[in-house]
Amino acid sequence: MTELTLGRVTADRDRLLRLLQQYGVYAGVVVLLLANTVFTPHFLSAENFRTQAVQVAPVLIVALGMALAIGSEGVDLSVGSVMALSTSLISLYLGYGPWIAALAAVIGGIVVGCANGALIAFVGVQPIVATLALMVAGRGLALVLLPQLKDVRDPGMAALGSGDVLGVPYLVLIAAALALVVAFVVRRTTFGRQLLAIGDSRPAARLAGLPVRRVLIIVYVCSGALAAIAGVLATARLTASDPTSLGTLMELSAITAVVVGGTPLSGGRVRIGGTVAGAVLIQLLTTTLIKHDLPPSWTQIAQAVVIVLAVYAARERGKR
């Protein structure tokens, strides 16, 4: 009798874990929203929501590219350095106008992405090693281009950083639009399907005649370009270029958002909705703890707990 109950409990636990992995991140967001509504003063204000959304936008944009890299059974550690490179390039090219400067920054991201992709697809270096190399090199290059913090005084940039449409900041609109585009690419394009197949079983994808190298290069180019866009937006918001600190630990925040959002590190699946929710969850968690006057170190511990939970749910499911 006890054994039977035990069996049922296990089945229930499996189901619970599956639900946790698929919808846990959304539930987490809802719980934090509700809890803050009740316990945090002034939480339910348009101003607060705007602040939160603006803060999460760059992380989210970087996480979108990270989701693609992780879906292809890889990872991109160079995203933070790409942001730094991006901000340096903006300062260098601002003389030609904000558009040219932003374009230069994105091209910088694409170049780094190409280097990552070429190392991974043609040389056969493991993604974690290849992008680690570019992470170090990218930050170094950013500091060579712009050795110290520099103010960005440009009306166009300032408008990008703090302007809005009907109360919704540009930053948030851009992040949302990019999320929709990436979700569409993953679901509806040949590239998206091929990416998932390559992430799930590379030998099979190769024998099925898929353009494995091309797909991998596009993945890292997308990741680099998205990180560069995040760098442009962060620069616009801060109205300053700070290649020393911009984007530090960004790769970890992005990986966290992706993993917490239910994309398995083993590749073959990409969950964009989950990634968005993952980024929002981490942001809310941070805010909650800060607003209740807990030291920042608590935020890190809380993040760690969420990551462990997410990975635990994914692992249990992977065993089935």
Partner: protein
């Protein structure tokens, strides 16, 4: 010794086992057979503690048990040798043999000298001579299987479960395996033997249990069950039908005068192939014969651009194909069904639908956007035509039985409308029913004008299925059998009388 009664196990959407009774007795070899998806693997997994039953009882040594983990089952004396060898490829043979129970020296460190000596002795007993210090992955699959067996035997198992142990063994190794099984039987060990090879079952097994659709349809003495009756039970058909249809019969009409659709000229790959030439005409099934390691798979891979060649060329309908490029070969109309279905064929996490559409995707898209409607139609057509059994097009391929996975792969290639199909062991490890279906399909495809190159370790299938057989030995074409010469006897003689040295066990 080990028995179950009233066993029921349900997975989401599928009832894998319902009310199964099964008893393995000490000193008896018990055959467990059934088509793919009949529930054999699930039953084994319940017996070994991988799955827990929803209903029913497992009795071991007279008392009810419930193994929570495979480890518990192992400690209780139930050893399993799975289809895919589950050992650590980078560790040495000896370490694998003694994994988790290494002999210790005075300081609690591993006593390597003793371990190597004992490992060597254990393998010698099974008739295997290898350097036990070598990493396991450097050895052939056959030897790996023997190591797994040696490990199972040496842990003082009382029940040994073997899941298709001979599927990657050479005849000589099968003899060794059977000798070991008889030895186990004499020691009073209960052996549960899963296989699709009927000859082996009748040779080695005492009792038999036939499963179909998760139920036991027959259980009794092996010798008292007629072959034809056994096949009929597995397939769930009447005997008359089975007899009429035959088990491994393709026939093929083709035009002997036609221009070859595929021509391989002097293919050479260092250490693997030495100037292999062959041609396939439209509508023709050409068999590629030879022992393991004779270069059959390598030839297919070289033609498909998946193995870089040092020299030689491949022509499709007279036009040379760019060498060393799978996409180029596929564009030219060459499709390869790889030998290792699980690792190189299916994409397990994707659905049946995505797997079928995978290779044809660029053709089913406009401006990089996937045309879902067209994919649905193609997937629907092939799922019906090939009779793919799945809960639906959105079920993950990894959850299907081997035969259905193979059909999904065939569908993937047929959706490309190829000119040449290279089939490397298309029916290995799939059940008799699906096997007959796949063979019939190959026949139909050849009738439609496809050129087929068939590789099979099942000589009967090779001989009956092929119009011509090209015999390879050590990477060289030694003979080509045509017309009346396509017989098992001639094939054996071609292999035996070839001048080259003995075959390498690695494939």
């Amino acid at each position: 010794m080990l028995s179950v009664s009233g066993l029921t196990k349900t997975f989401p959407g599928v009832r894998a086992l319902s009310g199964v009774d099964f008893t393995a007795r000490a000193g008896e070899v018990h055959a467990l057979i059934g088509e793919n998806g009949a529930g054999k693997s699930t039953l084994i997994k319940v017996l070994t503690g991988v799955h827990r039953p929803d209903e029913g009882e497992v009795t071991y040594d007279g008392s009810p048990v419930r193994f929570a983990t495979p480890l518990q089952a192992q400690h209780a004396g139930i050893s399993t040798i799975y289809q895919e060898v589950n050992l650590v490829p980078l560790m040495s043979v000896a370490r694998n043999l003694f994994l988790g129970r290494e002999p210790r020296g005075p300081l609690g460190l591993i006593d390597f000298r003793r371990m190597h000596r004992e490992a060597d002795a254990a393998l010698r007993e099974l008739g295997v001579r290898v350097d036990v210090r070598r990493p396991l992955r450097e050895l052939g699959v056959g030897v790996q299987q023997m190591v797994a067996l040696a490990r199972a035997v040496s842990v003082d198992a009382r029940v040994v479960i073997m899941d298709e142990p001979t599927s990657s063994l050479e005849p000589r190794e099968v003899r060794t395996l059977f000798r070991v099984i008889r030895m186990l039987r004499e020691r009073g060990i209960a052996v549960i033997y899963v296989s699709h090879r009927l000859d082996e079952l009748y040779e080695i097994c005492d009792a038999v249990t036939v499963l179909r659709d998760g139920r036991v349809v027959h259980t009794g003495r092996m010798a008292e069950l007629e072959r034809l009756r056994l096949v009929a039970l597995m397939l769930g058909r009447e005997i008359g039908e089975v007899q009429g249809e035959g088990l491994t019969k393709f026939s093929g009409g083709h035009d002997a005068e036609a221009e070859p659709v595929l021509r391989a000229e002097e293919l050479t790959v260092r250490h693997e192939l030495h100037g292999v030439s062959l041609s396939v005409r439209p509508g023709e099934v050409v068999g590629l014969g030879g022992l393991l390691g004779s270069g059959r798979s390598e030839t297919a891979k070289a033609i498909a651009g998946a193995l870089p060649t040092d020299s030689g060329r491949v022509l499709v309908a007279g036009v040379p194909v760019r060498p060393g490029s799978t996409p180029a070969a596929i564009r030219a109309g060459i499709s390869l069904l790889p030998e290792d279905r699980k690792a190189e064929g299916i994409v397990p996490g994707l659905s049946v639908r995505e797997n079928i559409a995978l290779a044809a995707l660029p053709g089913l898209s406009r401006f990089g956007l996937v045309d879902e409607g067209r994919i649905d139609r193609i997937v629907d057509t092939f799922m019906k035509r090939l009779r793919i059994k799945a809960a639906g097009p959105h079920q993950k391929v990894g959850e299907l039985s081997g035969g259905n996975q193979q059909k999904v792969l065939l569908a993937r290639w047929l959706a490309m409308q190829p000119k040449v199909l290279l089939l490397d062991e298309p029916t290995r490890g799939i059940d008799v029913g699906a096997k007959a279906e796949v063979q019939k399909l190959i026949d139909e495809l050849a009738d439609d004008g496809l050129g087929v190159l068939l590789i099979s370790s099942d000589t009967e299938e090779l001989i009956e299925g092929s119009d011509r057989v090209v015999v390879l030995k050590d990477g060289v074409v030694v003979e080509e059998l045509t017309g009346d010469a396509v017989t098992e006897d001639r094939l054996m003689r071609a292999i035996a009388t070839a001048p080259a040295g003995t075959g390498d066990p690695d494939d």
